[in-house]
């Protein structure tokens, strides 16, 4: 086994992070997505007839309003988790393809191992995702602190700091799982077009997550919800949904986290092999069978 250099991983990570953090697309997504979400929540409130112009609010309405805003808060958190898993995975894939297409990789490989490059890339883009999420959390906290509506929504949801801790945990675990796979897809093919079929396959579990979300939210302890929140590919969002609105037994969340970690370890191992071979392959689009062979001989 080749010795891995922390400095090399750090350099690769630093480049991934710094070239993107000040980019227009990062700033746009960081500030436009929350603005969009706020608009979705706020604009309907103005379109509805104003409650206190007609009559003073009564408890049942407030309970209903609380449920609605709690549901919106849950939806927002899940949406953010969901979107960032996919969009940052795709950034990792594009970054691999860029290096492969421009042949920068051949120079990098003189001085760094494939494993170091892959680790640096995943961690660098992951750092970017984390910064974005932290900015969003900061903006959310600011919103809650500065407006009475915000405080009311927070009170209605009963979210404690635990909601954020679990969010970060599932965000990080989900990102590691998906980014490793996106990394392998980027390395195996020569262009985004070629990679499309496999990107689609990677998106399928995310789509399944989206489709399972509302059944899970309405019956968080049903058998399908429990299974869905255990399968590593759908676990990050589904288990998080269960944690947010219900209280799954501790052994289930622990088992889920343990299985996620185990599958991350397996995915990284397999994907690193595909990456190692794939980045030097140019020309013909490899078949699934060829890729399987790379896993064996890498």
């Amino acid at each position: 086994m080749v010795k891995v250099s922390g400095r090399t991983i750090w350099l690769v990570m630093e480049r991934e992070f710094l070239t993107r953090i000040f980019s227009r697309s990062f700033l746009a997504s960081t500030f436009l997505i929350p603005a969009f979400l706020v608009a979705i929540v706020v604009i309907p409130a103005y379109l509805l007839p104003h409650p206190h112009s007609a009559r003073p609010p009564v408890p049942p309405d407030r309970i209903a309003a609380g449920i609605v805003s709690a549901a919106i808060a849950v939806a927002v958190l899940l949406y953010v988790l969901f979107v960032s898993l996919f969009s940052y995975g795709a950034i990792v894939m594009r970054s691999v393809l860029e290096e492969k297409q421009s042949r920068v990789l051949e120079i990098l490989l003189c001085y760094a191992s494939a494993d170091e490059l892959m680790a640096g890339k995943i961690l660098g883009v992951g750092g970017l995702a984390l910064v974005q999420v932290l900015i969003w959390i900061g903006l959310g906290a600011l919103g809650v602190a500065m407006s009475t509506t915000g405080r009311a929504v927070l009170a209605a949801t009963h979210f404690g700091p635990g909601a954020l801790v679990w969010f970060l945990l599932f965000e990080i675990l989900g990102y590691l799982l998906y980014s490793a796979m996106f990394c392998a897809v980027g390395a195996a093919f020569n262009s985004i077009d070629e990679a499309q079929q496999w990107t689609f396959i990677l998106v399928l579990p995310l789509v399944a997550t989206g489709m399972l979300l509302s059944p899970v939210l309405s019956a968080p302890d049903s058998a399908s919800a429990v299974i869905g929140s255990m399968v590593p590919f759908t676990a990050p969002a589904l288990m998080y949904a269960r944690v947010l609105i219900g209280s799954p037994p501790l052994w289930q969340t622990m088992l889920c986290v343990a299985m996620l970690i185990a599958s991350i370890a397996a995915a990284v191992r397999v994907c690193a092999r595909i990456y190692r071979v794939g980045i030097l392959m140019h020309g013909k689009r490899p078949s699934a069978r060829e890729i399987a062979r790379w896993i064996h001989y890498a």
Binding site: E98, S102, C110, A112
Partner: protein, 301 residues
Amino acid sequence: MSAGVELVGVRKSFDGVVAVDDLSLTIPTGAIFGLLGPNGAGKTTAIRMLIGILLPDSGEVRIFGAPVRRDVTRRIGYLPEERGLYRRMTVEDNLVFIGRLAGLAARDARARALKWARRMEIDRWMASRIEELSKGMQQKVQFIAALIHEPDFVVMDEPFSGLDPINVNELNEILLDLKRSGRTILLSTHRMDQAERLCDEICLVNRGRGVLSGPIRQIRSANGRCTLRIEIEGDLASLARFPGVECFIDRGNHADIILCAGADSQDLLRRAMRLGRVVRFELREPSLEDVFVTVVGERNG
């Protein structure tokens, strides 16, 4: 000259297709070594094994006596065949990143990037993105990326492609400068004229195997067939029966003769002098290109 860089009986196949087969070459320290051959001959695979990107299936690679490891590959500077830079990063950021990856401290990388950029006259473009530069300028940046950490072993895969004649000359100067400062240089190229001008030794690769290797002059005289143009006041045709003549073309007043490999042109001259007064005796040495075409043509035809 001590053995600087060596491939010893190296073999590499991909999915059963042999790319390099039992290839051995020795690049003396301080020499410019040409790796020549047609497309698909296995040059790039050989280079990738030399710089540690690929591991050979069998055989050995030694760089300055040591197996290829990280501490050794940091002494290598590599210019890939196709341009390898981050298109959306600036010239300076590209160079500093690669320099640091090759082991330099950030400050040294910056200073050296600037020094080289001045020498190559692209320092005005340090803050421009790669995609904004012309092909020739991008190639200069690529050059600096290969040389920024002052490598002892410089590997350049097709460095002349896409360069105008002025830049080619500039590049030649730099390569000769590197040689004078004791660096070992491997040059892979199709351009025989450049190889002929620059290289001390060459290895001709065809279908994954080393076909010819050695000092350039030796290869030319051992494999090339000299073309002779001869004119005598006497019977030209009888020269055709001379044992070393492979091909005799009677052109009326004079004749063109191609000698067999190894035949001595001076023997032919003595013979011609016995036939009559020699008016013209012109010896044209084979170019590397002639050798290349003959050897590769014979084996592939």
